[in-house]
């Protein structure tokens, strides 16, 4: 039973967390909010942007502010799954040799999968179980991951040489995908100022605990959402399917596959988390709108015509949003 006190505490905690991150990360408030939403929703998030935009710094700042165990995995083409999940090694103890599991970097609370698209699909697949089931299986043994657990991955959209696009099964496991855009002039000036003067960037102190995160997750799940809005979310997801009666013409023309049911879950949970972070006690349309693109943009598979004509998923989602009535 969630009390009023719990709700107020959790709200205050995440306000502090956001402020701590914002002190380090110049601009990118939406990106920070998405990271927190993913954290509150027990999800994972994919940041996409050119190098040097502060993606890694964001993840490190979040992990620092949360006071959680942080792991950074730099994905390279020669990275092996065992390098991520760990492996059984022979150890000698009291004159006896035996296999013991050496946990990989995946065993942490906050995982930074940097340039995840540079690893082979085989290695990328090593994250699937951890991202969804929060477990890691090595050999015959399955090891649970500690909560709160979150994978924050980054990828470079322009450097395609030697990269391996994420398989659909894996990309669908990211709750949100956030495009990290180039900072504005003011933000850029502030970035240069913080990195070139004084002691440089100082990661924040831990402002939240794992317990706060878990409480926050409980509260988010309890936030009510109207049945009509739930139906609305369902129609939004269906509208991304070209064969659906709700889909607009552009979706029918350029989309090969629409969003999965995970997208609907992501929308509902993301809307709830967004409402929670906004201090609201119920889901509103603006909450859905805020995470609509982030929850769906990586789940649309364009057809050949869409790819050839350079149609973006965001453009299609704008069309879906505008042409789907809430009531």
């Amino acid at each position: 039973m969630i009390s009023e006190q719990d709700f107020q505490t959790a709200t205050a905690t995440f306000e502090r967390l956001g402020s701590a991150i914002a002190d380090v990360i110049v601009g990118h408030q939406d990106i920070v909010r998405f990271a927190l939403i993913a954290l509150l929703c027990r999800g994972n998030i994919l940041f996409e942007g050119v190098p040097g935009l502060g993606k890694t710094l964001l993840v490190r700042t979040l992990a620092s502010a949360l006071g959680l165990k942080f792991s950074r995995i730099q994905f390279t083409p020669d990275l092996m799954p065992a390098d991520i999940v760990g492996t059984d090694i022979i150890t000698e103890e009291n004159g006896h040799r035996r296999f013991s599991f050496a946990a990989g970097p995946i065993f942490a609370h906050v995982i930074l999968a940097d340039e995840i698209n540079r690893a082979t699909p085989k290695t990328q697949s090593a994250l699937l179980e951890a991202m969804e089931e929060r477990t890691v299986t090595v050999g015959t043994n399955t090891y649970p991951l500690e909560e709160p657990y979150i994978v924050l991955a980054t990828q470079n959209p322009i450097e395609m040489e030697g990269t391996y696009p994420l398989p659909e099964a894996q990309i669908d496991r990211f709750l949100l995908k956030a495009n990290v855009t180039f900072p504005l002039l003011d933000d850029l000036v502030r970035i240069t100022e913080r990195n070139t003067e004084g002691a440089g960037i100082q990661l924040p102190e831990a402002t939240a605990t794992a317990s706060d995160i878990l409480t926050g997750r409980q509260i988010v799940r309890a936030i009510p959402i109207a049945a009509a809005l739930r139906e609305y979310i369902g129609r939004l997801v269906l509208a991304t399917h070209p064969e659906s009666e709700y889909s607009p013409v552009q979706v029918k023309d350029y989309v090969e596959y629409g969003a999965s049911p995970r997208a609907a879950i992501a929308l509902v949970m993301g809307a709830k988390a967004h409402a929670f972070l906004a201090g609201e006690i119920n889901v509103r349309r603006v909450d859905i709108e805020a995470i609509f693109k982030a929850a769906l943009t990586h789940r649309l598979v364009l057809n050949f015509r869409g790819e050839a004509e350079g149609v973006s998923a965001d453009m299609l989602l704008d069309d879906v949003w505008n042409k789907t009535q809430a009531n």
Partner: protein, 526 residues
């Protein structure tokens, strides 16, 4: 006091039902009023004489339909989740009401329910603006009421649009005075079955066609014909029973006959003239009916007196013809002997030169009558000739006619018979010698035509119609009289001699004499 969300929901639902019902009613009223106007227009055209009940029903029908629509709209249960979300959007409440409804139906208490209730309660005072009557509904209501008013105006006003539309052809046909009359059924002669006009049954289809023509085509009488003036004179003559005076010239009569012949043979372009003639024929028939009174009285035929004494009765052409035929037959019967009649060819051998004077409203009918009479006379003459040869008894006179007429032939003064002017229709006249032709006329009886001479007399004071009743060869003499026109006298002795010269038996001559006695009037009996 704790916020009662259930009661709040009930208020919302009731308001929605009322507005939904009202919207549906307004929409129904709008369309029904349009249909009402259309129905009234149609009814106005189909049934101009509508009852008040029908009008009230038609006017109330949209209202009743709207009421039914209101009940139906009110009866419909709203989709509360969507209704509440719509209310949230209208109130910009951030989906709190619909979220509270979700919490409410899921049951249990939480901080969210408490907080949501408090926030919904704060805006519950202004919640009604979230469910408002659409402007379109108000517009439909206004239009619907206006439609009913229009329908009412259309329905109630006596000179309403539909009635005006239905009467439009009649009003337009002011130039066609009797277009509204019912056209005759096939085989129906009269188009005025219930008319008070005594001559109405005589109107032919051609007359109806004429009457449908614009008045400007028929309003102007044909000055060349001068038929109106002739008929007026005839009417005056019939009323005054004046004697025959000096008539028109033979040329005028010939022109008149030719013109009438053209009318009879001219199709559509001369419809106006035909109609004019038909109208005049109706008047002639009326006058002829009056004129029949005297001969009938003379003859003492009660049926004829009855028919002629009631000008209101509808005397058809055939009935007049039949009456005349009956009179002739009765005369023949009453005389107790058969009149010897020669073949009609003796009078010229042409049906257009029948020696008779008849009362007809129609030239063709008159010809038919003459042909029939001549044919009967010929038949009788043939039959009686045979019996005369056997019995030698052929000199009987009609005692009935003698008893009535002091101017009977054989009684001296009765040889000269004065023609009455109440005769109705034309008579084909002939003879180049004109009126009062001599015995030379016998050889010219076969020629057809009007008398060329200018007749020095008139009928009565101004009439000139009498010439039309005199056929070629009829010995007519003009004697001065007290009036300026003079008196037109038929020399029956001379006519009798002509007939005898042509081999006509005595019975035939006698029959012809009786005929002229019948249709004429002794001098001084006006």
């Amino acid at each position: 006091m704790r916020f009662d969300f259930s009661r709040f929901l009930l208020k919302i639902e009731q308001r929605f039902r009322r507005i939904h019902g009202f919207s549906l009613a307004c929409r129904t009223l709008f369309y029904a009023s349009i249909a009402c106007v259309a129905v009234n227009l149609v009814l106005g055209g189909l049934a101009p004489e509508r009852t008040a009940d029908l009008g009230i029903f038609v006017l109330l029908l949209p209202v009743m339909l709207a009421a039914a629509a209101f009940v139906r709209g009110w009866w419909k249960r709203p989709d509360l989740p969507h209704l509440l979300l719509q209310l949230d959007d209208e109130l910009d409440s951030g989906a709190r009401i619909s979220s509270l409804y979700e919490v409410d139906i899921r049951g249990g208490g939480s901080i969210f329910r408490t907080q949501l209730e408090s926030r919904v309660e704060s805006m519950s005072a202004d919640w009604k603006r979230g469910i408002r009557l659409p402007r379109r509904t108000i517009g439909l209501l206004s239009a619907g009421i206006a439609g009913i008013l229009v329908a009412g105006v259309v329905l109630m006003l006596p000179g309403s649009l539909p009635m005006a539309v239905s009467q439009l052809p009649t009003q337009k046909s002011e130039g066609w005075p009797v277009q509204a009359q019912v056209m005759p059924e096939p085989g129906q002669d009269s188009v005025y079955p219930a008319s008070n006009d005594v001559a109405a049954p005589l109107e032919s289809f051609e007359e109806t066609a004429f009457l449908q023509l614009p008045s400007h085509q028929s309003a102007q009488p044909d000055s060349d014909l001068s038929l109106d003036s002739i008929l007026d004179d005839l009417s005056t003559l019939a009323a005054s029973q004046t004697h025959v005076g000096t008539g028109p010239s033979a040329q005028e009569l010939k022109d008149l006959a030719e013109t009438q012949g053209e009318i009879g043979s001219t199709p559509a372009p001369a419809r106006a003239q035909q109609g004019h003639m038909a109208t005049d024929s109706r008047r002639l028939a009326q006058q002829g009916t009056q004129a029949l009174g005297d001969p009938a009285a003379q003859v003492g035929h009660p049926e004829m007196e009855q028919s002629s004494g009631h000008p209101e009765s509808e005397l058809a052409l055939d009935s007049i013809t039949d009456k005349l035929q009956d009179i002739i037959d009765q005369l023949d019967t009453s005389s107790g002997e058969s009149a010897a009649v020669t073949d009609s060819a003796d009078f010229g051998g042409d049906s257009e030169t029948r020696p008779t004077t008849a009362i007809f409203a129609d030239q063709q009918a008159g010809q038919q009558f003459l042909e029939q009479t001549a044919r009967q006379l010929a038949d009788q003459a043939t039959a009686e000739q045979e019996s005369t040869d056997q019995n030698g008894d052929s000199q009987q006179q009609p005692s009935y006619q003698r008893a009535r007429d002091p101017h009977q032939p054989g009684e001296g003064a009765s040889d000269n018979i004065q023609l009455t002017a109440d005769l109705d229709d034309q008579l084909l006249a002939g003879g180049e010698d004109g009126i009062g032709g001599t015995s030379d006329d016998i050889h010219q009886l076969g020629e057809v035509g009007f008398i060329d001479e200018q007749a020095p007399f008139t009928v009565g004071t101004q009439g000139e119609f009498i010439n039309e009743f005199v056929t070629q060869g009829v010995p007519v003499e003009i004697v001065p009289s007290q009036n300026q026109a003079g008196t037109h006298i038929i020399d029956f002795e001379r006519m009798e001699s002509i007939l005898h010269e042509r081999g006509l038996p005595d019975e035939g001559v006698d029959a012809i004499r009786r005929y002229f006695e019948l249709i004429t009037q002794p001098e001084g009996e006006s």
